[in-house]
């Protein structure tokens, strides 16, 4: 897996976790709270509608039975003389109308043959024949009867309250018409919300009151929606208590609440209906408000997840880079340590044979001082060869000493060191060599650089090494400029040694601090100088790095911590 895809996946995981952890409780709470609130609110709304229907059921039934009772009282109290002619009935009707504010429209006396024998009222219905009227037949059978609303002879919606009574051995029906408008008002007044309406319907599906708006009353609607629990072809409405049904209003197609209760001993059904959107309006408003809140919260959480994941990822990337760098440094340090041990062992082993070699060459030189040997014609050549052996022995000695320096630093004694002074000394020391190589050494040293606690000889070795390397880099490049700068940055002393040499190829940059890595010709460099510098700087808790551009130059940067020296300075003061 590449770093890029790994980090992308990590970021997706972080976003997923943040969103899941933040949103899950929010959504669960919203769902549970919403469900509880919905249940409680629905229960409350339906209970209110049931209560309303129950109250009207009671009052309508009381109205009907009251009107019936009035007629029954008349039949019981008023004598035949009072009811047998129009004038008597007119007196009774006037009395009823004055008491009930015009609810009773007319009064009529009908004989057993269905002929109206006396009548008082606004219509001309004298001698009307009701023999085939349903209400007449029902009343004759049941003693008293309240009819459904019908148009009848007068052509207006009305209903009849009839009571059978016997006068002088003859059966008569005293009937009265109830004012439809007054009755309708009882139901019309039941209003709830914007869409709530109430009406009364008979078992046959005929409206007994006029609904405020059109209601599509069909047999299926009546049977399946309003009274699903019983078949109206064989049973009366059986609901003494209000019932709630949820269904679709065929007229509007809306989800609607229907609350029904039976009236008139199950002949009629009082229906209160209201669209669910209207009935649960406050709940829906609260739900929509909560939904908007949840959507805004979700967007905020997702936004925060993106922002946070980016920040976390940046930190992770940074930490990973530091870790990788530290790993490289640990590997480098480990590599140097093991190589150091190896180098020390080799140096010791080589030192003795080299010493013998050099001494043997010295011995031959001693012998060459003899007269006879000196007289030999090849004596000069032998002496030259001996001198060469001794010179090369000296080089071997130098190499072994460097190897040992690599393993153990020259003088690790810690002292208070002024870096600037040390650099000036080293620059002065290399001045002669620089001049030969046509290199100009410039320094730009910060006065504010405080002294640090370090081994002067080790630091000398580092600076000398870097300066010599820089001069070597410019030696075959028609000279150049070597600039050494110091500055204080983030509690660190930063020393830069920059040359205008040929630069280091990128492939070599990675190996530049490896022991025995050299680009110098055979015999010119041991490849240990920069390794030693690296080891020394690492040991001091600092860092050494290199940046290079081909044909432009190379800069070595050394960063050394200033803390210890400053700390001592503070404690001393």
């Amino acid at each position: 897996m590449t770093d890029k895809s790994y980090y992308s996946q990590l970021r997706r995981s972080i976003i997923g976790i943040i969103v899941a952890v933040s949103l899950t409780p929010l959504l669960v709470l919203a769902a549970l709270g919403g469900y509880q609130f919905h249940s409680a609110y629905k229960q409350k709304v339906l209970a209110h509608m049931e209560q309303l229907v129950y109250g009207h059921q009671q009052s309508i039934d009381a109205f009907l039975s009251g009107k019936l009772a009035e007629i029954r009282v008349l039949t019981d109290v008023a004598g035949f003389d009072k009811v047998r002619d129009d004038a008597g009935l007119a007196q009774l009707l006037q009395s009823l109308q004055s008491r009930y504010d015009g609810v009773f429209v007319d009064l009529g006396l009908v004989n057993a043959q269905g002929t109206q024998v006396a009548y008082s009222g606004p219509f001309r219905l004298g001698r009307a024949d009701y023999a085939h009227a349903l209400w007449f037949q029902e009343t004759m059978q049941r003693e008293y009867y309240i009819s459904d609303v019908f148009l009848g002879l007068r052509g207006l919606p009305h209903f009849i309250v009839g009571v059978k009574h016997s006068w002088h051995g003859q059966e008569y029906i005293l009937r009265s018409t109830i004012d439809f408008v007054a009755f309708n008002r009882l139901v019309e007044n039941v209003r709830i919300g914007e869409t709530g309406l109430a009406y009364i319907v008979s078992r046959g599906g005929e409206f007994q009151t006029k609904p405020r708006r059109d209601v599509a009353m069909t047999a299926e609607f009546l049977n399946d929606v309003l009274t699903p629990e019983q078949d109206l072809r064989t049973h009366r409405f059986g609901q003494s208590q209000p019932h709630v049904h949820l269904g679709k209003d065929p007229a509007t197609g809306e989800d609607t609440v229907f609350v029904t209760a039976s009236l008139k001993n199950g002949d009629w059904l009082l229906v209160l209906q209201q669209s669910q959107d209207d009935a649960f309006r406050l709940f829906l408003r609260a739900r929509n408000f909560a939904l908007v809140g949840i959507i805004i919260s979700t967007l905020a959480i997702v936004f925060m997840a993106f922002v946070l994941s980016k920040r976390i990822l940046n930190t992770v990337v940074e930490t990973d880079q530091q870790k990788e760098m530290m790993n490289e440094q640990v590997i480098e340090a480990g590599k140097l340590a093991s190589l150091g041990e190896l180098a020390a062992g080799i140096a010791h082993e080589i030192n003795n044979p080299v010493a013998i070699m050099v001494e043997e060459a010295g011995w031959i030189q001693d012998l060459m001082e003899e007269e006879d040997l000196r007289a030999s014609k090849e004596a000069d050549e032998v002496l030259r060869a001996l001198s060469q052996i001794r010179t090369q022995g000296g080089r071997c000695k130098e190499i072994t000493h460097k190897l040992l320096s690599f393993a153990r630093k020259i003088d690790p004694t810690m002292k208070r060191v002024h870096i600037n002074e040390l650099i000036e000394e080293m620059a002065a020391l290399s001045e002669q060599r620089a001049r030969f190589a046509n290199v100009h050494i410039a320094t730009d040293l910060a006065d504010t650089l405080p002294p640090i606690e370090a081994s002067p000889s080790e630091l000398q070795q580092v600076f000398l090494n870097l300066i010599n390397n820089a001069i070597d880099a410019m030696d075959h490049h028609e000279g150049g400029q070597l600039k050494i700068t110091t500055r204080v940055e983030n509690h660190q002393a930063v020393i830069s040694v920059a040359d205008t040499g040929q630069g280091i190829p990128k492939a070599n940059l990675q190996k530049i601090f490896d022991p025995f890595f050299t680009t110098k010709p055979v015999g010119k460099g041991t490849g240990l100088g920069l390794s030693i510098c690296y080891g020394i700087i690492q040991k001091m808790g600092g860092e050494i790095s290199v940046s290079s551009v081909l044909d432009v130059g190379t800069t070595f940067h050394i960063r050394l911590p200033l803390r210890s020296a400053e700390g001592e300075g503070r404690s001393a003061s």
């Binding site: 020390a344 140096a347 010791h348 030192n351 003795n352 044979p353 080299v354 010493a355 013998i356 070699m357 050099v358 001494e359 043997e360 010295g362 011995w363 001693d366 022995g393 000695k397 072994t400 000493h401 040992l404 320096s405 393993a407 153990r408």
Partner: protein
């Protein structure tokens, strides 16, 4: 301090046979009376039998540590100047030897003339 003929008596202690051989020849050529010892034990035995004006001791030997031999020699002949020979890596040990009474130390391989100068310095000539 030297023998009656004025020759400096030197005890050369090193376990490298080749080195001891060539050094003996070169030092003897320069008029020194050199007695070689190829181990610490041999050096101590030789020191019991003979007197020396100066000793040159290698710090790293198989049987005994240079500092240890120095301690024994100093006990046996307290006035004997001891010059220590060391590889570069045991410079620290050589310094330690100085603290234990060694006259001086030289890094191997060394210039014979330097060694001669130290020897003369040690015997006071």
């Amino acid at each position: 301090m030297s023998n009656q003929a004025g020759t400096i008596r030197l005890l050369l202690v090193d376990d490298e046979v080749g080195f001891v051989e060539v050094m003996c020849k070169r030092l003897q050529r320069r008029g020194l009376d050199v007695t070689p010892a190829l181990s610490g034990t041999e050096a101590i035995q030789t020191l019991r039998k003979q007197d020396f004006d100066v000793a040159v001791v290698d710090l790293k030997m198989e049987d005994m540590d240079g500092i240890e031999i120095l301690g024994i020699m100093k006990k046996m002949v307290p006035g004997l100047p001891v010059i220590m020979l060391t590889g570069h890596g045991s410079e620290q040990a050589a310094r330690e030897g100085m603290e234990h009474g060694a006259f001086d130390y030289l890094l191997k391989p060394c210039e014979l003339e330097n060694l001669m100068a130290k020897i003369h310095q040690a015997v006071g000539k």
